[in-house]
Symmetry: C2
Subunit: 132 residues, 2 copies
Amino acid sequence: MNIGDVAERSGLPAKTIRYYEDIGLIRPHRSANGYRCFAENDLHKLAFLARARALGFSIEDCRTLLGLYEDDTRASADVKALAQEHLTKIEAKIADLEAMRDTLTELVHCCAGDNRPDCPILKDLAGDIECL
Amino acid sequence: MNIGDVAERSGLPAKTIRYYEDIGLIRPHRSANGYRCFAENDLHKLAFLARARALGFSIEDCRTLLGLYEDDTRASADVKALAQEHLTKIEAKIADLEAMRDTLTELVHCCAGDNRPDCPILKDLAGDIECL
DNA sequence: ATGCTCCTTCCAGCAACCGGAAGGTCAACA
DNA sequence: TGTTGACCTTCCGGTTGCTGGAAGGAGCAT
């Protein structure tokens, strides 16, 4: 398969696939004309990567996960630990974003949103606490 | 004030303050020795920026917000619209992260986490759906 | 031969900084 | 007076995970 085919079948852009080769996540063969030549196994790995990325794993985590995936003697504990750690980070991010959301929601709620200049959002940013 | 003083008082690293000058968010004067020389107004702006950044506004949003802040003839509707748009993006991000969290939570829950190789997390990533 | 699409490599850039090198300045202290 | 140490300066490169574009080769249809 050429890169266009695996791009379509994996859902990853060709650019991304080349990048993954660049950083050593995959190692497709080359045809005589210099084109990358992908086997089913490469496609499978790319789909794995696409899914792991969609779950928010970093590239380095993905590298580790691929390594574990290909290691028949892995301990599931290692995979679980990685996933758990990632989950913890995601939960922290959610908490951060929720704090922003709550503050912003209140500020937006307090702002008249008319054509007058008076604005509690700017006041809050400027350090004048107002509105409740 | 020198940069170290405003860094301490605004809570922003000196590097960040220099960067903000670079991209034109602030324009501190210079002393005879070439050191940046910050007025109270600069400090005030930096605190404004720090707070806006903490609420997740992008640098470009911050630039706009600062502009609105300094414009006495602004309409609060413009500020509110910007904040509302940002809020919507944050809510979308939260939703994305929550979807990841939910999937990961389930996968982590399904994984034995022992020293055997069998792992539903890897199976899921590989496209074999298992575990409910 | 021409045109079109696909492929290749390489280079630049995005956000929002951070780290470090190389060097100038300043205040204090022996 | 010399020197130490803390501060300041600029500049360059790296971070993450790609994305866009330029310049050029390959393959196929007409």
